[in-house]
Amino acid sequence: MSPGEIAGVTALGVVVGVDLVTVPQAMTSRPLVAAFAGGWILGHPMIGLLAGALMELFALETLPIGAARYPDWGPPAAAAGALLADGVRAGGGEGAWPGLLATVLVAALAAWLGGWSLDLIRRANGAAIGRYAERLERGDPRALVALQAGGFARDVLRAAALTLVMLVPGGLVARALAARWRAPAGLAEDALLAAALGVAAWSAWRLFGRGRTARWLAAGLAVGCAGALLWA
């Protein structure tokens, strides 16, 4: 990956990273979007889309509710899409499933790291508010602007760092894992699909498995299975 591409993916990581909490919460931080865009930057959007769709199944569990700590999928997914597209560009189609498994695994770990970094940002914002407490008590509008700008700047730095962590050391780890894979590629495919669908099924059950929505979930599964049989 060239320095220009790394800069482009990092910029994308910042956009999707600040989207999660800071501005504008338009859900560009969802892995379906971020990974597709990451792959698109490196000229292979479809591999990014495949990784994004699988990570989106994991992320169905992630509801960014208030003070809860939740994984930040945006920057890791953007970097994962780019890393996989870079692999396809280098002619790595045969090892695609082990590569996908390794990249999604590293992205999941980076998403946890992202959740932890959000906690740090919240604490840093709290410390900044403490420093401005006296001006806030006086109703100084410039204190509000300074706090909002400071929070935004911290989140930009956090998102950039998280993207680079996934892109550089994360990329090295993912490639090393994929290169050392000895088992049949189909095993990686089975495991990745089973884990992604398992998380989605578990999340769907927790969200909709009781009361009136349970019937709709069952109906959706029936329609989806029928559609899958017809389409395949």
């Binding site: 989106e56 189609g93 946890w112 992604a196």
Partner: protein, 261 residues
């Protein structure tokens, strides 16, 4: 005050823009408080000339205190509190109004958006992707989701502003209640439908010409694995999130794949 409509207030456009950055200074101590006051500030500017700016500064100090609700519908509280400040309501009444709105607005947004509209749109995007729409599936997801997202923020500001201290009436809006009734079943249907379609699409190599021999064997194996995984997650309950468990499983598989002989 003579402020009959929101458009008559010069700060309307600025407040609308600032609604999208409500959580920039989110902290455990004040949660949305700083963003709340920052977004409301343009609407309070008519108060700068009253009492030498004391009412303006007093209002900003009050409005920057603790507030917590869903970020999209916090605009209801911002509109209502701004109206109350401009109408000269007693500070204690405004503080009680803010406090009273936290719970209902949080519950409304969580049910309507986080547990309803977001999974519905995400699943709809996944269905389109699995049916071969490619990047258009992503675009439809973003457009669909954000039509409601932006509409909620704008409606909230207007509804809160119109109602002022009587904002509870705005939350009884029949469209909101109908939305709450419909969005859960819609999300359940879409998520249920998306899972098998994505499985088959991915197992077929997602149109990427990846190796997909014995595709149906993979579909069955992955489907059975997913069912086993979900049952295990259910058995473990709240001790592990699905993602924690999946990360552990994938980690074990990655190590196993390296040690394979």
């Amino acid at each position: 005050m003579g402020l009959s409509g929101l458009r008559a207030v010069p700060g309307f456009a600025f407040t609308t823009a600032r609604l999208f950055g409500l959580q920039s200074a989110w902290s455990y101590e004040r949660m949305l408080g700083i963003g709340f006051a920052h977004a409301m500030e343009p609407l309070l500017r008519p108060l700068r000339g009253v009492d030498g700016g004391a009412r303006y500064r007093g209002a900003l100090a009050r409005e920057s205190l603790f507030f917590n609700a869903h970020p999209y519908v916090t605009s209801v509280a911002i509109g209502a509190a701004a109206r109350a400040e401009l109408d000269g309501e007693a500070p204690e009444k405004i503080a009680r109004l803010r406090q009273a709105l936290c719970g209902p607005l949080g519950a409304l947004g969580d049910r309507l958006v986080w547990a309803g509209w977001l999974p519905a749109c995400s699943a709809f995007g996944l269905i389109l992707v699995a049916l071969g729409a490619g990047g258009w599936g992503v675009a439809v997801f973003l457009v669909l989701y954000n039509v409601v997202h932006v509409a909620l923020r704008l409606w909230g500001l207007r509804a809160g502003w119109r109602a002022g201290m009587r904002v509870a009436a705005a939350l009884a809006n029949p469209v909101l209640h109908r939305g709450l009734e419909v969005v859960g079943p819609l999300a359940a249907l879409a998520v249920g439908c998306a899972m098998p379609l994505v499985l088959v699409w991915a197992a077929h190599g997602a149109g990427l010409h990846l190796p997909w021999w014995l595709t149906w064997r993979h579909v069955v194996a992955a489907g059975a694995g997913a069912a086993a995984f979900a049952l295990l997650a259910a058995r473990l309950g709240t001790r592990f999130t699905g993602l924690t468990l999946a990360t552990l499983v994938l980690g074990v598989v990655a190590v196993g794949g390296m040690l394979w002989r």
